[in-house]
């Protein structure tokens, strides 16, 4: 039932983006944060898993099925991927946009079950007030929350979220990640999210994978990964990891001299 990646190599033409990526078993109900500076290969890793980019070599298995050679429909039913750039000017309402993610057949009719699922996810993410609004009328943050709703509504085995909080204010960063965590635990999904905010990563993730220049530098529980010297070297900052009185981790970061 788990996700496993071994010796994955991905590139665009002659440019190697990911090299020898190995990720040991990620189990259902686990929230994995992908951290690392810009252009470290986080988005490419997601695209490889989602089938948007074809790897040069290596293996990605989900539920024991090799994804690099699996049928397109297996992957689309098991994996929901939210790209980093969710900018869409289509003349569709928020409700239609989320419903779209459930329609993978050629059927004309929309099932009542699907309508209920869309209504419920919009309600769960506090998006019902926006349901009839056009996508072009949304702010960047609202569009990002709709993209998360479009991803979660499919109830897949694996959810890939590429920077799901980059356009959100503090309140919505916390609320959306809480909702994702809630869904993940309730439906036993695997969630992988690329995050730039190390404090959010520390607060919500069960496991962190640190990427730099297409290679994995560290992989483990937040307490362990965030305390490594590799964090300072990767981000070129000076960090200090603290355990707060509420038993949460806090990363204090400053520019290194």
């Amino acid at each position: 039932m788990s996700l496993q990646i071994s010796d994955l190599n991905v590139g665009y033409g002659k440019i190697k983006v990911l090299q020898g990526i190995d990720v040991s078993s990620i189990k259902p109900g686990e929230f994995v944060g992908l951290i690392g500076p810009n252009a470290s290969g986080k988005s490419t890793l997601f695209k490889s898993i989602a089938g948007v980019v074809r790897p040069h070599s290596g293996s990605i298995t989900l539920k024991g099925v090799e994804l690099t050679t699996s049928r397109r429909h297996f992957r689309s039913r098991q994996i929901a991927y939210m790209p980093q750039a969710f900018g869409c000017n289509a003349a569709l309402s928020v409700f239609e946009c989320v419903l779209l993610a459930l329609k993978q057949t050629t059927g004309w009719r929309v099932r009542n079950d699907d309508l209920d699922r869309v209504s419920q996810i919009l309600s769960a993410l506090d998006l019902t007030a926006l349901a009839n609004r056009g996508l072009s009328q949304l702010s960047g943050g609202q569009a990002q929350m709709v993209a998360v709703a479009q991803t979660l509504v499919r109830q897949p085995s694996l959810v890939l979220l590429d920077e799901p909080t980059s356009a959100l204010d503090l309140h919505h960063q916390l609320s959306i990640l809480s909702s994702i965590r809630h869904f993940m635990q309730e439906r036993k999904m695997i969630v992988m999210a690329a995050l730039h905010d190390l404090n959010l990563a520390a607060q919500f993730c069960d496991r962190l994978i640190l990427l730099r220049e297409g290679r994995i530098l560290a992989d483990g529980i937040p307490n362990k990964v965030l305390g490594l010297e590799a964090i300072d070297q990767t981000y070129k900052v000076k960090t200090h990891l603290e355990q707060t009185s509420r038993n949460t981790l806090y990363v204090d970061a400053r520019l290194s001299a």
């Binding site: 790209p83 289509a90 569709l92 309402s93 050629t106």
Partner: protein, 362 residues
Amino acid sequence: MSASSDIPETLDIPDVQTLRSDYTRQIYRRYLTLAVVFCLMMISFFVDVTNGPGNFPLSVVFDTLLDKTAHGIKLEVIIWDYRLPIAVTALLVGAILALAGAQMQTVLNNPLAEPFTLGISSAASFGAALAIVVGWSIIPGVGPLLVTINAFVFALITCAFILVATRIKGVGPETMILFGIAIFFAFNAALAMMQYMASEDQLSRIVFWMMGSLSRASWEKIGIGSLLLCFALPYSFIRTWQLTALRMGDDTAISLGIDVSRLRIEMLIVISLLAATAVAFVGAVGFVGLVGPHIARLIVGEDQRFFIPLSALVGALVMSLTSIISKMITPGVIYPIGIITALIGVPVFVSLILSTRKERLS
């Protein structure tokens, strides 16, 4: 909720049941819209048939429609061989051009795309000019259909070139539009060369062909166009969800299990056939392929289940209205349809866009 929150507190928050019924109501409204536009199209069609030189009473026209020989051979020829083919061709070509435009805008993710953006009409015009000036056909032995066949084949060659270009790695929708613009300029230059070489009579024939005219209508052409539409519409209908998903961006569409490059190529083949046929039949009639989808988008949005048929219906309606107007400006004279679509359609279209600046989804 904080002041900086994205969701204003003053909004009424609908419950789950309301959301579902809102959507269902919206769908019924869209079916109603399709029905209303269809009725308007049929009214326009009958006005087009009943209108024209001769000023025959309505009853006479309807009698002849129901029974060819009801009022003699003269009426039969005027209604069945002249007015009816023109009126049907207006509907057919309008629907074909608007359908091609709608699909092109979706596939290339560009609201300015239409059959003419990719240079298809320029290529067809060059093919027609080649036939008129040099009398050379790309397919030998086509006889009186020389101009039409040449226009069709050159339009198809252009489409094939664009299709081949799409197979080049890394060529996205934006590059395809740029290819189209390059083709447009290349064929326009070649066309100018043909016009320079042409005699006075040939030059006037080229110019008249490029203006677009419904007087080239015939029952044979109607048969071919109808067959094409009967194939293209259902073909698009079974891909409505995939086409709608394409508007979410390629990455999202791929993650939804859609073979994006295959879908794009399949749709481009359909678009090519539609555009090439329409241009070969009536000449270079612009604007309908742009305005049909835009009006449909303003009314029903981009759920392709409604966007595709409404685009075709609006295109047919616009072309039919243009046909009526082209006969009414000067009694006894039928103006080239391409001039009328631009002269009357553009101001209407601009005012429509300005009046709906605040986008509203029905």
